[in-house]
């Protein structure tokens, strides 16, 4: 029986890119993340930290081993099944905001909810506005992404990641494209999400300062876990 508090678990996952010369991205990763943890993944560039995050987020499929989300094994699932899990249980924040330029901020935040199709349109709207208000973005709801600053866009992206109340938020260099001030704001938001709402966050970063604010640091070197430190 797996621990119910365990939200993400890997069993010896290895990912090898089959190219002219096979490239091993990550090897034999054993990782268990429990509810409410704030995990940072660090390591030198090319150490496979983003690749590991994509594997945890079911965006990529391991060559060997298995990823379990919420105790559910994902090996052998179809692309559509994986998409359904991503939709309901995972939220992504990337280095670039990736907001849809044709839609307003609010519409962007509502998009995952609309795809899930559980709430009524009014409930989606009020939830979207609430998420934006939590991040101090309520007054920007009707603007389009290109009318916002980089920091503001990243906050919208975080709100969008929270749209379907995910089990885990996966962030890939969320501060990588921001200035110091905005970087701090975003770090602070992640910290608050964990402390105040008990959310689980796994963030890839190369910034030592960001990694220090997290409760647990996983350090990768050459695709293997070198250190796994809880603070």
């Amino acid at each position: 029986m797996s621990d119910p508090a365990l939200v993400v678990e890997t069993r010896g996952i290895t990912r090898i890119l089959q190219e002219a010369v096979p490239v091993t991205l990550v090897r034999d990763i054993e990782l268990r993340v429990t509810r409410g943890e704030f995990v940072s993944i660090t390591g030198p560039s090319g150490s496979g930290k983003s690749s590991l995050l994509y594997l945890l987020g079911l965006l990529d499929v391991p060559t060997a081993g298995e990823v379990l989300i919420d105790g559910q094994p994902t090996g052998g699932l179809t692309a559509d099944d994986l998409a359904a899990i991503r939709l309901a249980k995972l939220g992504f924040v990337f280095q670039f905001h990736f907001l849809l330029p044709e839609f307003t901020v609010l519409q962007n935040v509502m998009l995952p909810m609309q795809r899930l199709g559980v709430l009524s349109e009014e409930k989606m709207q009020s939830r979207g506005l609430q998420l934006l208000a939590d991040l101090d973005m309520a007054d920007q709801a009707r603007k389009r992404p290109d009318q916002l600053s980089g920091g503001q866009r990243q906050r919208v992206a975080i709100a969008r990641a929270l749209a379907n109340d995910p089990l885990v938020i996966l962030a890939d260099e969320p501060t990588g494209n921001l200035d110091t001030k905005n970087s701090e704001i975003v770090q602070d938001i992640f910290g608050r999400l964990v402390r105040e709402q008990g959310r689980t966050v796994i963030a890839v970063t190369h910034e030592e300062a960001f990694a220090r604010t997290t409760g647990r640091n996983v350090h990768l070197v050459d695709g293997r876990i070198e250190k796994d430190v809880k603070r």
Binding site: S50, Y54, G57, L59, D60, A79, D80, A83, A84, I85, R86, L87, A88, L90, F92, F94, Q95, F96, F98, L100, P101, E102, F103, L111, P112, Q114, R115, L116, G117, R160, N164, D172, E173, G176
Partner: protein
């Protein structure tokens, strides 16, 4: 719910590239519009032409001939016989339809059917030292009026005057010009049997068909019987029926019953009707070419959108959109272009038809045609519309499929 999301994304992406969308919509709509215009001109003229064929000649002509040579009695009696008779001489029979009066009578009993016994033959019309060979048809003026257009094609005189004038003859305008014959002139008619008769011109018609105008003459049936030396004989029964489309089956049943060769108007004009099939094939292939070009326009815009939207596709997939969802979003864009193109195309087609209907001209040889005859039915619109939608879906299919196969990791990794 999903479809609303997909539709709103598709709409937004199209609306964002208004000019490109407009160009591809225009491509489709021009295709649809021209298709509607050409196909209603083509099918209108086909219907008009067919109408002429139907109106200008009897629907069915029974002739005093048989389709197959008579079988020897011995073969009828012993169909499986081992004996073969060679060089038998077929029995000579008197030409003409036996008992034609009773047959005409019986046919006329049917509701809406007009039947007329006629005798046709060859004569030479001679006037002022000039000869013209001509067909002569011995007819009944009361019935001929309904069977063909001669009566309404009359320039001078009338068919009825055949009855009021002794030895009257109706000739065509071509013959009148060629021989210099005018109304009430006396022409000499010479028959193959050597009979010479002076006949009075009581009518001149102009059918717009050179063959008829130069070579067809009409006299009373009994005069023809005298002229051609075939007393009490008719070699044709000409029939008009209420629905011309039934002519083929009705002719077959008559032939089956009486044995005489019965030709429907379709059989006589088989070559012309076949020409229409070729003409339609040409029309459709030209219009298909226009639509294929338009489809490439749609393919182009959807491909461009897919290329430019790879990031958006990647983020939607990471959010949890399935490949199918992504494919649907781009297919919808193709369908939207198709629908817009179809609607605009209908308007263009309608406008083109209005323009075309204003064009007036006369075709040499065809006296009555004044401009295009158009088929104003809904059919070309339905076909053009279907064509637009089908080509839109077909054109969007490939790029939409490509979009569904995007690997989000490749895009996100590349962007980072």
């Amino acid at each position: 719910m999903f479809w609303r999301v997909a539709l709103s994304i598709a709409f937004a992406q199209l609306a964002n590239r208004r000019r490109q969308t407009l160009v591809s919509v225009l491509g489709v709509s021009l295709g649809v519009g021209f298709f509607i215009a050409t196909s209603s001109i083509m099918s209108g003229s086909e219907q008009d032409f067919t109408q002429r064929l139907v109106d200008n000649a009897p629907h069915i002509t029974i002739k005093d001939e048989f389709r197959h040579p008579a079988t020897q009695p011995v073969f009828v009696t012993y169909p499986q016989g081992a004996i073969s008779l060679l060089r038998t001489k077929p029995r000579e029979y008197l030409r003409g339809i036996k008992n034609y009066g009773a047959k005409v009578e019986e046919l006329t009993q049917r509701p809406g059917v007009i039947a007329e016994a006629a005798l046709t033959g060859q004569v030479i019309v001679r006037y002022a030292n000039k000869d013209v060979s001509a067909s002569v048809a011995g007819i009944d003026p009361d019935k001929e009026k309904f069977l063909t257009q001669v009566e309404s094609d009359m320039l001078e005189g009338s068919l009825d005057r055949l009855r009021t004038t002794a030895d009257g003859i109706v000739i065509g305008s071509g013959m009148s010009e060629k021989l210099g014959l005018k109304m009430d002139d006396l022409a000499t008619v010479v028959t193959p049997s050597g009979l010479v008769k002076r006949m009075k011109i009581v009518g001149i018609f102009h059918a717009g068909n050179l063959l008829l105008d130069e070579g067809q003459t009409y006299v009373l049936l009994k005069n023809a019987q005298v002229l051609l030396d075939k007393p009490f004989i008719a070699n044709q029964i000409r029939i008009k029926i209420p629905n011309p489309d039934d002519a083929e089956t009705f002719a077959a049943s008559l032939e089956n019953r009486w044995g005489y060769r019965s030709e429907s108007w379709q059989e006589v004009n088989r070559d012309l009707l076949g020409l229409f099939i070729i003409r339609n094939a040409i029309t459709y292939s030209i219009v298909s070419a226009i639509m294929i070009v338009a489809a490439f326009g749609i393919f182009n815009i959807i491909s461009t959108v897919v290329m430019e939207k790879r990031r958006d596709i990647a983020i939607m997939m990471s959010m949890g959109f399935r490949g199918f969802d992504i494919q649907a979003i781009f297919l919808i864009q193709g369908v939207l272009v198709g629908i817009l193109g179809m609607l605009l195309g209908w308007t263009i087609g309608l406008g083109l038809l209005e323009l075309v209907s204003m064009v007036k001209f006369t075709v040499p040889g065809m006296t009555k045609q004044q401009g295009f005859v158009l088929d104003r039915s809904f059919r070309p619109y339905a076909i053009g519309g279907t064509f637009a939608l089908v080509s839109a879906v077909a054109a969007a299919w490939y790029p939409a499929r490509k979009a569904a196969q995007v690997k989000p990791v490749d895009i996100i990794r590349g962007a980072a």
